[in-house]
Point group: C2
Chain length 321, copies 2
């Protein structure tokens, strides 16, 4: 009998729910507003309702579903199934896995959302040919996850928070209190920040004409201006890519990955961003790493979260761990 | 019956051999010159002879010895037991584990020497209270190893080569061809290099009087001058420590270690080096890491290599891997 797992990606805005086959095929996906202000229990009910709804819709028997994987933002204790802290969802020490298990009767596994997104890409996406994958999600912020032979690296619990590496020469203060954190530049927010600054400084750029209020500038606007050969947009993209490439040059000799995957919303900038990342990274790498490292974009960007979460559930259900 | 393992540390100068109990007690240790110019087979014979000699000397039965762990410099394939490349020993694609196994009749496990040194410190030394340990050996060069829940992190094979992270502001070309590699400053060699440069520049320093030829200056000389309040020696030690601290601030958010262990010959500089490392590291760390990270010196510096190698053999012999 075919086997399935649900993959859930709880974001600040939406809860994505997908039913996924063992072959990583996404059978069905739904999305509802998260509504965190209505309380933790409500969010749990929304997830259980999505699961029931998808089972009804697809006609797949609950008996064919092996488990549920849930990606949560913030700090998670996967062993106890607890969301330790997810500020924007108002979760604190909340037993997510236990709640969903009691609502659905299924085994439930939770992990940090970035790790599950990258897990999905590593085992069944851009990284599936590589044993050791360093993956990044570049979105509102930037974070990383390390997957080795299908094992998620956790460290002391806060592994992967590369957005808070302070980099010399970055002039911005971060919300975390540090000065010059990587994600103040290398993120969708950071790209928009640089565009706003350029307009405010009166630089000659197409970006000045995109919106009545420069605060409305987005990462996508920079890609659009880039494609129209705007020198300011090109400079912002190259500066951002180079800072990321330089930061990766600090990490690669320690981690020795086979592949670096760049995902998340801002990775839609594609080669505009990835080319300068590679240039700066490879210019600063010892020869032993240069020939054995690929830098690629995520393949299943919109779906990697739910697919990764479901594949993680399958992985955790394997008898050999 | 008490159980033992041999730990071997093959260095460019000496081969250290230790008989170690399951409780990590070092029962007996010997050291012979490596003599790599006499060929790979000869080096293997030297190891087998040391093992026989120690068994004779201690009167411990070969039946009580469970296995042999061997730390090799350079690139190792632990699964196949092969030294892929150890330039200064003239080893290339040589089946070290198989040779020693056939000479001794014991199960043999090999790994990179830095990883086994740090493995020893992580499971039975300065890191034994911590699950996730990032360890450094600062000697002729600098390298790192990551031990998570007693598992050695390998990545794509070249993990831990942090000596070849290029750092902005380091003016020296590295033997590897890159510019500004960390180990051109943060190593015993790098400390001596800075001392020679200071003397050559005619700086007012006690270091000028230590040797007739400034090329004879060593890392230890800098510690000695430091203790006599020499401002140049103090500045060299602080600069070196701060560069290492800053580099660690790039790695900690990615790895989230519970403990950082600083070992190797240059760690004999002690707090002269470790205090500026900590200052610079903690000044650049996100608050979530600051309270949950200790930076400590290796406990079993002279013996960590052989003890770590032996404990690794015990670890590999455990049925659950």
């Amino acid at each position: 009998m075919a086997a399935y797992a649900f993959g859930i990606d709880i974001g600040g805005t939406n809860i994505e729910c997908g039913l996924v086959g063992e072959d990583a095929a996404l059978i069905c996906k739904s999305s509802v507003r998260t509504e965190p202000h209505r309380g933790n229990e409500h969010v749990m009910e929304l997830i259980a309702a999505q699961i029931r709804e998808i089972l009804n819709q697809t006609g797949i028997s609950a008996d064919a579903v092996r488990g549920v994987g849930i990606g949560m933002p913030g700090l998670v204790d996967p062993d106890r199934g607890i969301s330790i802290l997810a500020s924007n969802l108002n979760f604190r020490d909340y037993p997510v896995a236990g709640k969903i298990a009691s609502l659905t009767g299924l085994p439930v596994f939770i992990e940090n959302d970035v790790r599950l997104y990258i897990f999905g890409e590593a085992v069944h996406g851009a990284g599936q040919a590589y044993a050791n994958v360093l993956g990044l999600t570049v979105g509102t912020g930037i974070a990383a996850a390390l997957i080795n032979n299908r094992e998620i690296y956790r460290g002391g619990g806060f592994a992967g928070e590369i957005g808070h590496i302070p980099i010399d020469g970055i002039p911005y203060r971060c919300a975390c209190g540090l000065h010059g954190c990587l994600e103040t530049i290398v993120s969708a927010t950071g790209l928009a920040r640089q565009a706003k600054a350029a307009v405010a400084e009166g630089k000659q750029t197409l970006l000045s004409d995109f919106h009545p209020d420069p605060d409305m500038l987005t990462a996508k606007d920079i890609s659009d201006a880039y494609d129209r050969h705007d020198p300011v947009a090109i400079a912002i993209m190259e500066h951002t890519g180079k800072l990321l490439g330089r930061t990766l040059s600090y990490l690669v000799p320690m981690l020795s990955p086979d592949a670096i995957i760049i995902g998340g919303g801002a990775s839609k900038a594609g080669d505009r961003l990835v080319v300068p990342v590679k240039q700066e990274l490879f210019a600063h790498l010892h020869p032993i790493y240069r020939d054995n490292l690929v830098v690629v974009r995520a393949l299943r960007n919109e779906e990697a979260g739910v697919i990764g979460s479901a594949l993680y559930a399958f992985r955790m259900l394997q008898p050999t761990g």
